[in-house]
């Protein structure tokens, strides 16, 4: 399934298939026709996932299997009703965020999905090669909701990055990101701060990442407006949010990737570039027709 020369990816795949053999057909589809460039990117990211996982790689892979099956009920609800099951943060907190063992499994599953879901990998590649690579020398970087730490690792590794911070409302998430960065061997000084962006400090950054957070919010527009205030004039923001992506804690339904673009404009950003990444095995056209999850990435700037 994977050609020689991609040792990290091959190792992770071996672990994944050991605990989830029935996923082989999907994974064959995932890597069928993958270009050497895409395989190099995926192999590099798989290396980071392996470093984060340490000796718990089988657990990470088992939790990915669990997450895939766990979310099928949300898919069922979405297909029947045309909306997400939950819309209130309090309900997501009661069902998901307050359950620490469940959250651990969920975060592990999301980490593995960065490798196994083509759109997730593609977004990370676009982040590295288009967003981070386009930032000027000496940029001050902020990520809100850094989670697994893969984006923060890529941004802080840029030779142009002068400083990097990660903000999250959850102390547990901050601790998890810190541990992930340490395991990835990150040698840059990164401040990880407990912060609620609805009450932002009077500071500004040249570069902001906001990946897979909007869909978890009751009022995503208010969050984007807050980030607009945190972005220095001429700075760039990377927003990634999925359309039609039913998960147990997704509250705000973007029915198309264009709705993310429109919300960015409404928050005051000028649009620099977009990437609409369909899921494994589907074209963007098929994803639109079948209401499959599409990662909508928007790079904006503050005029």
């Amino acid at each position: 399934m994977i050609p020689d020369g991609y040792a990290n990816l091959s190792t992770l795949l071996e672990h994944q298939l050991a605990v989830y053999p029935e996923h082989r057909r999907y994974l064959e589809k995932r890597f069928k026709d993958a270009s050497p460039e895409h395989l190099r990117l995926t192999d590099e990211l798989a290396g980071n996932v392996l470093r984060i996982a340490g000796d718990e790689v089988r657990t990470i892979c088992a939790d990915y299997k669990w997450m895939v099956n766990w979310t099928l009920n949300e898919e069922l609800y979405f297909r029947r009703n045309g909306c997400y099951r939950l819309s209130k943060f309090a309900d997501a907190y009661a069902e998901v965020y307050s359950n620490i063992p469940l959250m651990t499994q969920y975060v592990n599953g999301i980490l593995a999905s960065q490798i196994w879901w083509r759109n997730h990998t593609e977004v990370l590649g676009y982040f590295r090669d288009t967003f981070v690579a386009g930032n000027p020398k000496g940029f001050r970087h902020l990520e809100v909701g850094p989670g697994h730490g893969l984006f923060l690792q890529l941004a802080s590794a840029s030779p142009n990055c002068a400083s990097a911070e990660g903000w999250d409302v959850s102390p547990a998430s901050i601790a998890a990101t810190r541990e992930a960065l340490t395991r990835m061997g990150n040698r840059h000084k990164i401040d990880l701060v407990e912060m609620d962006i609805t009450k932002p400090p009077a500071r500004q950054f040249d570069s902001i990442t906001f990946s897979e957070v909007l869909e978890h919010l009751e009022e995503p527009l208010a969050a984007l407006k807050s980030l607009h205030g945190l972005l220095a004039p001429g700075g760039r923001i990377f927003v990634n949010a999925p359309a039609n992506s039913p998960m147990p804690d997704h509250l705000y339904l973007f029915r198309s990737p264009e709705e993310v673009v429109d919300m960015m404009k409404e928050a005051g950003f000028d649009i620099v570039d977009t990437l609409f990444a369909p899921p494994t095995g589907a074209s963007l056209e098929q994803a639109r027709k079948q209401l499959l999850s599409v990662s909508a990435v928007v790079i904006g700037t503050r005029p």
Binding site: R25, Y26, V68, L76, R79
Partner: protein
């Protein structure tokens, strides 16, 4: 069976093999767990029935799915 076959043909455009009672998900390249959910919801809509969550992955082949539909229609 004809209606179920039409749904399957519509969902799996790239599959051009036979659609009969013996057909299983393994024989259709794009028939994964997500496609199974989509198929069952399409069947619900077509026949005006409702599956329990535990029934979504129950049919082992198309023949068993047709039997499940017939049982639910008989109870209506």
């Amino acid at each position: 069976m004809d209606k179920v076959a039409a749904i399957i043909r519509d969902m799996f455009e790239d599959y051009d093999g036979p659609v009969n009672d013996a057909l299983t998900a393994e024989q259709v390249p794009d028939w994964d767990s997500l496609a199974q959910v989509k198929l069952m919801v399409a069947v619900e809509s077509e026949f005006g029935i409702r599956f329990e969550s535990r029934e979504i992955n129950e049919p082992a082949n198309v023949g068993e799915l047709v039997q499940m539909i017939e049982k639910k229609l008989a109870k209506k």
